[in-house]
Amino acid sequence: MMQGGLPRLLMALSSLCTLAVPVEIQVQDAAGKPLDEVVAYAEPLSAKAPKGKLSHIIDQVDKEFVPLVNVVQVGTAISFPNKDNIRHNIYSFSPPKPFDLKLYSGTPSSPVVFDKPGQVVLGCNIHDWMVSYLLIVDTPWFDKTDARGMARLGDLPAGEYELKVWHPYQASAAPAQKIKLGAGAASAFAFRLKLTPPPASGNHNY
């Protein structure tokens, strides 16, 4: 314990002194092809994660959930505005948050608060093909990769984190990377992920 006193101090100092450590994560498939829409997030190991923005919107546009892949912090209230001129239902049997919004149009009066971490799959019971994947994480530092497979986790205080990526289609979870952020420490990380998209199902025109 004594031997670890100095670094802990240094880290505390640096977190006070150097506030912004931008983290860049690149996700590629086995062939090196950049993967987009992959959730990347960092869970702090040394400190309790602060609360970030606790609201999210999943639209229903043209009989699809938009976006397909979502990531929110625990406690986020998600509203589901219906942009179609037909009614939709939203349900989930996923253990973190089973719920069922009756058929509605427009925006429901109260958003749904997801207060447990985990994966939630959202569906519409009258449009079987409508699906949206939601990852509820206990950290405010998350992002989705862009078309170049790059995700940015903003400014993280120096410290130790567990860096993870997730995609609903992933064949298996990529191993988490433990990172230590601080002055002079690396801030760019790479992941490889194998995706197996589900068979196309349903007919969007129904």
Binding site: S92, F93, G123, N125, P168
Partner: protein
């Protein structure tokens, strides 16, 4: 109906032909149809298998869709989503019941069974139908056939999405006989599902009747993938289709097409064909009989006509025919009928008519006589038959030739025809023999007719400037007194005629006494033989007196017969008879022997008399005669110069060359040869000149009237003159008075023979007469 009739032949032939064609057609069609039906059955099976597979696939798809629909039911998903085992189990049963699934299973993504309505005890164990699940994972749903506890199921696996896949629901539908029946209804084939395992085949479901199922179990073998299968006396074309491989072994569908059903249309066609063929044959038979009758009917009519022609009816008119060929035949038949009638008339004429005279011949006359006798008998009437035979006709023929003879015969026929009544029949029987039938005339009344006929011969026959005197002998016999039939009557008439000719009468009626006369003749032959053997014959000598010096140093030897019982028999009675029978040669030999012997005696007595002996026709044809004569001359030491042989003209005619040969050899012996009865025949002196004769004896016919008949005188004078010119001695026979002797002497005749000098007399009487004559003044 006989098979030999034309109608039957035509009908049978064409009907058989048709039947043959029909049978051949039937066989060909049957064979082809049978093959086609077989092929069809096999083809149906191939198609059937395709349909069957498609049906199974469709059923799988339909079930998959149905199950998918169930699996997406929100309530169902909600129930699954609760994760409560009991709730899940009841939801599965409920929703499975909706589509009548026989089993429903729920498996998790980790392939463990979460719920199972068929076997709840399997919960928590691993899901057994992983292949199916894998397929469902790829396609979002799959169906397949599996075996569970010896039963066959169609399993459908679909994912449960909420909205992503959270598990798999498997629903099973048992494939039982009912399903097989549905498939059978759609595929049109008997369907059996067979499972195979180490133990062999086992029947899982089938549409076959129970008995055939048992049979099928017994007959199955794994080699047979297609072909024929007989089940309980029903034939099937089968095809084995593999449906699935299950952990317990492959599942096959046995598709079977009943051949009985497959062949049903073919048998129906066959039946129709048979009926059609029978109808065709019956129609053909009737039509054939009708047509054949139309052909053969007229033929039968014509055959009837021909038959009646055969029976001698030539007055038929064959019915007019509408067919050209038959009409031709009918025409030919009509012509043939006419021709046959004409020819028959001609033949009848030839057969029954004498072509020379146009009179009926012997055959016809016999017929006519028979008919006349029958009629006369019927009407109690009488009739008379006359038989007429020409005298010396043979001589006419021989000397004037046959054409002349034929003319004479024809003329005689004409004269006879003219001499009788219209109803009388004149016929020429043969040669110079004629017969006349006088119906209704008693034989006693026939004399007038006989007289009339006799008078017709008084007229001389004019033939190409030549005048001929033809005479005839006639006999008459009458029915019923002389004979009861034609043969007897003709024989009687013949006898009467013979008698007339013999006796020199122109005619004679039959007398039953003639019968005995005839019989007498027959015994006469025996008597004559006896007479020759016993020397009952005697030679008489008639002097031939020389007119130059009155000497009677020549004589003609004439045979006489003194019968021990009948007394004297004139030569006219037995000589012609001997000539007829051929016995004349014996008689001649006897005469020659005795005459030469007598002459020899006279020569020996230095009192030589030249003897003349008559030769008959037959003697002239006997080549042995000259040697016999020579032998007799030698035997009796008689010089040939004292022998003269007399021959008749007619005797020379039979075989002139042979006769001439005999004459030459006789003449060569040195004896004299004389022509007897010269003038009665028709030989000319020119002909006589060629004969080795030395003497002519003028026939008594010319001599008797010599004194009163200038014609005869001229003939005799010229004969004597010509005879002398030819160097012949001329002798006149039958001289009965002195005036004639004087005339003949004046004419220069050499010798005279006749009653005026002396009758024929025995040898001793002749010698006495000769001595008296020599003594008397010349």
């Amino acid at each position: 109906m006989r098979i030999r009739s034309l109608t039957s032949r035509i009908v049978v032939f064409f009907t058989s032909l048709l039947a043959l064609v029909l049978v051949a057609t039937f066989v060909l069609v049957s064979v082809a149809n049978l093959r086609i039906s077989r092929q069809n059955a096999a083809h149906e099976l191939v198609t059937g298998e395709r349909i069957f597979r498609r049906l199974l696939e469709q059923q799988g798809q339909q079930l998959t869709q149905a199950v998918s629909a169930l699996a997406t039911d929100y309530g169902f998903r909600q129930a699954i989503g609760t994760g409560d085992t009991d709730t899940i189990a009841s939801a599965l049963a409920n929703h499975g019941g909706r589509i009548k699934a026989d089993l429903v299973m729920l498996s998790r993504l980790d392939n463990t069974i979460q719920a199972d309505t068929l076997k709840p005890e399997r919960v928590g164990k691993s899901y057994p139908f992983v292949d199916l699940l894998a397929k469902a994972g790829e396609r979002g749903g799959a169906s397949g056939i599996e075996r569970i506890d010896g039963k066959l199921y169609q399993l459908v696996v679909v994912p449960i999405k909420a909205p992503i896949v959270i598990g798999w629901v498997t629903m099973g539908f048992e494939i039982n006989d009912e399903i097989a029946a549905d498939l059978k209804a759609l595929a049109g084939l008997q369907v059996s599902f067979l499972g195979r395992n180490q133990g062999g085949w086992n029947l899982l479901a089938s549409t076959l009747p129970p008995a055939q199922r048992i049979a099928l179990n017994g007959t199955l073998s794994d080699r047979q993938m297609a072909g024929r299968l007989a089940l309980e006396e029903e034939d099937y074309e089968i095809r084995l289709a593999k449906l699935a491989d299950t952990p317990e072994g492959p599942i096959h569908a046995l598709l079977a097409r009943s051949l009985k059903e497959a062949m049903a249309p073919f048998y129906a066609l066959q039946g129709t064909l048979v009926v059609l063929a029978l109808v065709a044959i019956v129609v053909f038979l009737l039509a054939g009989i009708r047509i054949a009758s139309r052909i053969t009917g007229p033929l039968r009519d014509l055959a009837g006509v021909a038959e009646r022609i055969q029976q001698g009816d030539y007055q038929q008119t064959p019915a007019t025919q509408d067919t050209r060929e038959i009409a031709q035949l009918a025409g030919s038949l009509a012509h043939m009928q006419t021709a046959i009638a004409e020819r028959e008339a001609e033949i009848t004429k030839l057969a029954f008519q004498d072509p020379l005279t146009g009179l009926p011949n012997r055959v016809r006359f016999n017929q006519l006589l028979d008919e006349a006798i029958a009629r006369a008998r019927e009407h109690d009437d009488s009739l008379t038959v006359l038989l007429i035979n020409l005298d010396r006709f043979q001589q006419i023929n021989d000397t004037l030739g046959h054409p002349t003879g034929d003319r004479v015969l024809a003329l005689v026929g004409e004269r006879l025809r003219e001499a009788v009544r219209f109803e009388d029949q004149v016929a020429r029987l043969s040669g110079d023999e004629y017969a006349v039938l006088l119906p209704g005339v008693q034989v006693g009344q026939s004399l007038s007719t006989l007289e009339r006929i006799h008078r017709t011969f008084d007229r001389r026959f004019e033939l190409g400037g030549r005048t001929l005197d033809v005479r005839a002998g006639m006999g008459a016999a009458g029915f019923p007194e002389h004979g009861q039939n034609a043969t007897d009557l003709l024989r009687c008439a013949d006898m009467a005629m013979y008698r007339a000719k013999r006796s020199g009468e122109p005619q004679m009626l039959y007398d039953p006494g003639m019968q005995s006369f005839r019989e007498e003749h027959l015994s006469l032959l025996g008597d004559l033989q006896q007479a020759v053997e016993r020397n009952e014959l005697t030679l008489y000598y008639q002097p031939k007196v020389s007119l130059a010096d009155g000497r009677a140093d020549e004589a003609e030897a004439l045979v006489r017969w003194i019968h021990p019982d009948k007394g004297f028999i004139p030569p006219g009675e037995f000589i012609p008879f001997a000539e007829q029978t051929g016995y004349i040669r014996e008689v001649t030999r006897w005469v020659l022997a005795h005459a030469i012997a007598q002459a020899g005696q006279w020569v020996a007595a230095d009192h030589p008399i030249k003897i003349s002996v008559n030769l008959s026709t037959r003697d002239l044809l006997d080549p042995g005669l000259p040697d016999q004569v020579a032998a007799l001359l030698a035997q009796h030491a008689m010089p040939a110069q004292y022998l003269c042989l007399e021959i008749t003209e007619s005797g020379l005619m039979e075989d002139p060359s042979r006769a001439l040969d005999v004459l030459n050899r006789l003449r060569a012996l040195g004896l004299s040869l004389a022509i007897d009865d010269y003038g009665t025949g028709y030989s000319s002196l020119a002909y006589i000149r060629r004969l080795p004769v030395t003497e002519l004896k003028i026939d008594r016919a010319f001599v008797i009237e010599l004194a009163h008949n200038d014609g005869d005188a001229q003939i005799v004078q010229s004969t004597i003159d010509l005879g002398h010119r030819l160097g012949l001695k001329v002798v006149a026979e039958g001289v009965e008075d002195q005036p004639t002797v004087a005339i003949l002497a004046r004419m220069g005749c050499d010798r005279i023979q006749g009653y005026v000098f002396g009758k024929p007399m025995p040898a001793d009487a002749f010698v006495r007469w000769q001595q008296e004559h020599a003594a008397s003044p010349a």
